[in-house]
Symmetry: C2
Subunit: 192 residues, 2 copies
């Protein structure tokens, strides 16, 4: 998606070798015009699918998933990253490793909000090693829900998550796929 | 706002004396139709104000603030609850006590996204003791930004945050103000 790639090329910064900072439009300050356009593009790419629910994971996934759920008129469920006193009852749970935060955590979704009649579109900001995504897929599997599409804002193609999950048969649409980043020259090469 | 009050009356559950669980439409599963209507109501109540930025705090504030920023065509900034490797550079920071999570944490906003030319509308899900809100107000003050309005989904009027901050001159619009909740009878009394 040209609009997103242009934003990345113009505004993103590379840190610590392969961390892409997009906090000026995606995950600290949010450009709702861009995210609305990204939602339109996700909907175009998954046209014809009959989703029942949008699933994402806090925090950065929420703003990206909101306009998708809004435009499709579907409920949006976000997986939570820790146990909160505000959640009780039965939960689906999966372990996720965050490489940007150097820690392991549980993601949870209440059993009330996913079930075996759901046809899920998963939306998230980044796909790199795929750990967060695997957590969400495990939660959907526990619920007996079908995952009929995965929409990602930025995929780091030089890491293995996207390739592995596509090989497993998942339909993943990433709006910007990055083949190569170089911190020294701040160079970002997109996948053609 | 009748639509929100009806949802609360019908779906919210009371826990631990005074914790209101609204995870079926506001902070785990999200009803985007309701949140879109809430955004329209915030915009109506603050009509005539010339905001430059919407400020909220992760996690639950993001979905509520998104359609407000979207409809007003303004950037949305969300304060982060901890230090992340994905943020660097100068930051505004404030200490917040979470009564639902029984812990103290820092909220941070990069100095890049708030400045003394900003006229801010703060949006958040709950106002009870006002600790999170005071953190956001402190951050705006550090930035030299003006806070010209505060929009809250649910205010617990039996706790003192809203009253104190109104006395300090802040214009707070809460879409559902609760005078009394009773866990045993699951009774919720709204402020008229």
């Amino acid at each position: 998606m040209k609009l997103l790639k242009d934003k990345i090329q113009k505004l993103a910064q590379i840190k610590d070798g392969d961390v892409l900072k997009v906090d000026m439009f995606l995950n600290h300050q949010i450009d709702t015009k861009l995210l609305d356009a990204m939602a339109d593009e996700f909907i175009r790419r998954f046209k014809g699918k009959k989703f029942t629910k949008i699933l994402t994971i806090e925090t950065s996934g929420i703003a990206i998933a909101y306009p998708v759920a809004q435009k499709l008129g579907l409920p949006l469920v976000f997986a939570k990253k820790q146990n909160s006193v505000n959640i009780d009852g039965e939960m689906f749970s999966a372990k996720v490793i965050s490489y940007t935060h150097f820690r392991e955590f549980n993601v949870i979704v209440s059993t009330k909000y996913l079930n075996d009649k759901d046809n899920v579109l998963i939306i998230d900001d980044f796909l790199a090693n795929g750990s967060a995504l695997r957590g969400l897929l495990s939660i959907c599997q526990q619920a007996g829900a079908k995952v009929d599409g995965i929409g990602i804002a930025i995929e780091k193609h030089f890491q293995k998550g996207g390739t592995e999950l596509r090989e497993q048969g998942y339909e993943i649409e990433s709006l910007a796929i990055i083949d190569e980043i170089d911190e020294k020259s701040n160079k970002i090469v997109f996948h053609e």
